[in-house]
Amino acid sequence: MACFLVPAGEAIVTTVVQKVVENREKKAGERTKNTGVNWSRRLSWLNKLLWGGTILLALEHVWHGEVVPWPPFLTAMENPADVAPMLHEMATIGGAMAITVTIVWLIIVLIAELKAKAMPEVKAKPASGGG
């Protein structure tokens, strides 16, 4: 119904966090010593996962007629009886989606950390990945 709105909400928050972290890193000239990958870059991976998923899931909801281009945009909102199931779905499925994506991202970050620690020295120019 509207489960993708939960990861979308998380994506908005993490995008703002990424911008704040990016500005702080620019000011401090900070770069993580052991990996060569700073936190703003790590957060950009999470943002791309969340925004990518949200955009494609939004298309799927449009396809299934659950999202429409006119107010209230969510067809479940047109009928008061559908609002409670919609909120329940957002809490369960949407919450599970956001948590799963975040856990996968944490695993990616952890693997990157472990790989970097295994390397003797990180070059000045970090390896590209995830844009």
């Binding site: 791309k48 996962l49 990518g52 494609l56 899931l57 499925i93 989606m97 990945g129």
Partner: protein, 98 residues
């Protein structure tokens, strides 16, 4: 069906990204993360729907296949827009300067 098709797109783009890595001039990392994000979310959606409602795990019909194709086309469109806006080869700059 769209879950399988998106997962396949994610696997293929990740493989292409890895072949080209560490260079990521054409933002294939972005494309693969877009596909992986959607794959993860739909996987959770499918698992939870299967556990609570039962029925078939994958929908294998024409509508689901067309949705899968539309999703891939849409993701490629988003990626191409980002690519054209960032213009890593400077093609648009050169065209506009003419």
């Amino acid at each position: 069906m769209w879950l399988i098709m998106t997962a396949l797109a994610a696997v293929i783009t990740t493989a292409i990204w890895y072949v080209k890595a560490p260079e990521d001039k054409y933002k294939l990392g972005l494309l693969s993360l877009i596909f992986w994000g959607a794959t993860l979310m739909w996987f959770v959606d499918h698992v939870m729907a299967y556990l609570t409602e039962g029925g078939e795990f994958f929908e294998t019909n024409l509508d689901a296949t067309l949705l899968g194709l539309s999703v891939i086309v849409f993701a490629l469109l988003v990626w191409e827009i980002v690519l054209l806006v960032s213009d890593p080869k400077g093609v648009l700059k050169r065209v506009l300067k003419r």
